[in-house]
């Protein structure tokens, strides 16, 4: 017993080589994930350089001739460039603006709900849409929005073909996004709220605070760090607005608002096999995302004691 007590401080003084030898089994566990990550995550990062080359599979990535900013210039000069850029920015900004507060408001309401069974039921139901494939959601949207007998037109008594109206696209996109993800978004806030000390509420009640006052003075301050954290994460993904839904809800007639950069990457890069152009546009997107992440992270650091990276 004493021998062990004496020996234990020495554990930390072991040489690096010795400690690495002790950990060999951990390195074995890490081996497969590291190899896969190198090949399929770092490999593509290395491949980004084809954005600056005329890619020729025969010559390989480094053997292909260097062409500088050619592909970026082609992208910037594309006739739909302005449209794609603004559609991408607007679509994600609106999603964030409208979608971000909803889970917060929902969880504030649910947290104050005293009927636990109702609370549980609501929670279970509002999580459901998160588990449905975008493909199925878009199929449902197409049915609901159909001009002949679609649910929305039946209720409104109209015959509008919403998916051919460029003006309706963003509303459809944002509203269905809220429907699908707002419930799931409450989890993190509800979990944070559940950590609030019950005695705080008791004290507030004794002082005569109404539910609204309790939310204002207890719940919201408690949620604030989490809200900021979530905001950083959402804002940094501004340019990676969901490709899937925009692509599946796109029709020839709503392209004026549904054309986003991610669709261009897919159509040029995969469908037309213009690998260099697709890579360049993808890189453009990633670069903006990283700049945004850094900016938002800075701002958040100033306002609160939170930082994500």
């Amino acid at each position: 017993m004493t021998a062990k007590a004496v020996a234990s401080p020495k554990v930390h003084r072991k040489s690096l080589g010795r400690r690495m030898a002790d950990s060999w089994q951990l390195y074995v566990l890490l081996l497969i994930p590291v190899v896969i990550t190198i090949v399929y995550k770092y490999g593509p990062m290395y491949g980004i350089q084809i954005a600056f080359r005329n890619y020729n599979p025969g010559l390989g990535i480094t053997g292909s001739p260097w062409v500088g900013w050619k592909w970026f210039e082609r992208f910037f000069r594309a006739p739909t460039f302005d449209r794609m850029l603004w559609n991408t920015v607007k679509l994600s900004l609106y999603s964030l603006l409208w979608g971000f507060p909803v889970p917060i408001l929902l969880s504030l309401a649910l947290n104050q709900l005293r009927f636990k069974r109702l609370k549980r039921t609501v929670q279970t139901v509002i999580y459901a849409p998160h588990f449905i494939s975008t493909m199925v959601i878009c199929g449902m949207l197409r049915i609901f929005l159909s001009p002949s007998g679609g649910l929305i037109n039946l209720i409104a008594g109209t015959k509008v073909d919403f998916l051919t109206e460029a003006g309706a696209f963003r509303t459809i996109y944002v509203a269905s996004g809220i429907w699908q993800e707002a419930g799931w978004g409450t989890i993190i806030y509800l979990a944070t709220l559940s950590s609030i000390d019950a005695s705080l509420y008791e004290a507030a009640k004794v002082d005569g605070a109404s539910v609204f006052q309790r939310i204002l003075h207890i719940d919201i301050p408690c949620l604030l760090p989490m809200i900021i954290l979530q905001l950083i994460m959402s804002a940094s993904g501004l340019m990676s607005v969901g490709f899937e839904k925009a692509y599946l809800l796109q029709t020839d007639l709503n392209r004026a608002t549904s054309d986003i950069i991610a669709i261009y990457v897919y159509e040029q890069g995969i469908v037309n096999a213009k690998y260099e152009l697709g890579t360049a546009v993808g890189l453009f997107n990633t670069a903006i995302n990283i700049v945004l992440l850094v900016i938002v992270n800075r701002i958040a650091k100033k306002f609160g004691d939170v930082s994500f990276v």
């Binding site: 399929y40 993808g282 990283i290």
Partner: protein, 303 residues
């Protein structure tokens, strides 16, 4: 005077609590209806005559109750093959993803491992920066896994955010004393991993399993770019039915009643296939729902 006393009475007498209870219940019920009704409507429509659906006769109950939509879905070879493919990708992909998450999470939870920080950074970088769609596509081509099941999950790499959640769980929820006692008793890292970490982490394991299952079950884009039509999973098969609204040759040959009947059948298949595609995950998630909060919080504590 009267305003003040009424306010005081309201706050102290519990009156305002009861009012707010009612408001909260009303809000809850409205939210419940907004989320559940579209799903319910599709379910009802899938059991009704499509012409009645489009005539607005199925807001609450099925009209001319029928299982024909489901019969047609299960008779459609494309959908059934898609179902089979989806099950295969989901099972194999989930095993792969969860195994990788664990293989990364456990070593990173061992504080004494030299290079722990470096390995963490190595993985976390891939969360924020990547090569993008096209370079990844080219690597998939180059490594020769195109049109094989490997293409469905290898390009995804490790689900790093999930691995962080799992690592935090191992650190915070499995007592350090237990791991220490085991290693003093001479248990190797392998031993601790297989006979302690894995059995003691079932809550987080079930969360990881359901997250991975959902991701694979709902994925169609990976298959769109890497796989052949015969290898398409269910959502991708449904694209032709739901998004492009095209009837298959099989349906056309099956139906004798001409265009109107074919049209009717196509519409019925739409509703039924939505239910068939969404049902497995909607049935599965409530079983692990109680672990969601725990799991997601563990990950958020130390991002």
């Amino acid at each position: 005077m009267s305003v003040i006393s009424r306010r005081k009475q309201g706050e102290l007498g519990g009156f305002s609590d009861r009012t707010s209870d009612i408001i909260l219940i009303v809000i809850s019920v409205i939210v419940l209806l907004i989320v559940a009704y579209p799903l319910y409507y599709v379910l009802v429509a899938s059991l009704s005559d499509p012409y009645d659906v489009y005539a607005g006769k199925t807001f609450l109950m099925p009209s001319q109750f029928t299982f024909n939509g489901y019969k047609a879905v299960f008779a459609e070879p494309n959908i059934m093959r898609g179902y089979g493919n989806s099950i295969l990708y989901t099972v194999v992909g989930t095993i792969y993803s969860v195994a990788l998450i664990y293989l990364v999470a456990y070593p990173l939870s061992v504080k004494e491992m030299p290079g722990r920080k470096l390995v963490s950074i190595f993985f976390i970088i891939t969360m924020y920066f990547g090569g993008g769609l096209i370079p990844t596509y080219l690597i998939v081509q180059k490594t020769g896994i195109m049109q094989t099941i490997w293409a469905m999950f290898l390009p995804g790499g490790v689900a790093v955010s999930n691995a962080i959640i799992a690592r935090n769980y191992f650190e915070n929820s499995i007592p350090g004393a237990l791991k220490e006692a085991a290693s003093i008793d001479g248990a190797s890292h392998f031993r601790i991993f297989f006979s302690m970490i894995i059995p003691l982490s079932t809550p987080i394991l079930s969360v990881m399993v359901i997250f991975s299952m959902v991701a694979y079950w709902n994925d169609w884009f990976t298959a769109l770019i890497y796989m052949t039509n015969e290898q398409a999973p269910l959502p991708l098969v449904l694209r032709n039915i739901l998004i492009k609204s095209s009837a298959s040759a099989n349906q056309a040959s099956m139906i004798s009643g001409g265009y109107a009947e074919l049209n009717k059948m196509t519409e019925m298949i739409k509703f039924a296939s939505i239910i068939v595609a969404a049902a497995p995950m909607l049935i599965a998630y409530p079983f692990v729902q109680k672990y969601f909060e725990k799991g997601l919080m563990a990950g958020a504590v130390k991002g």
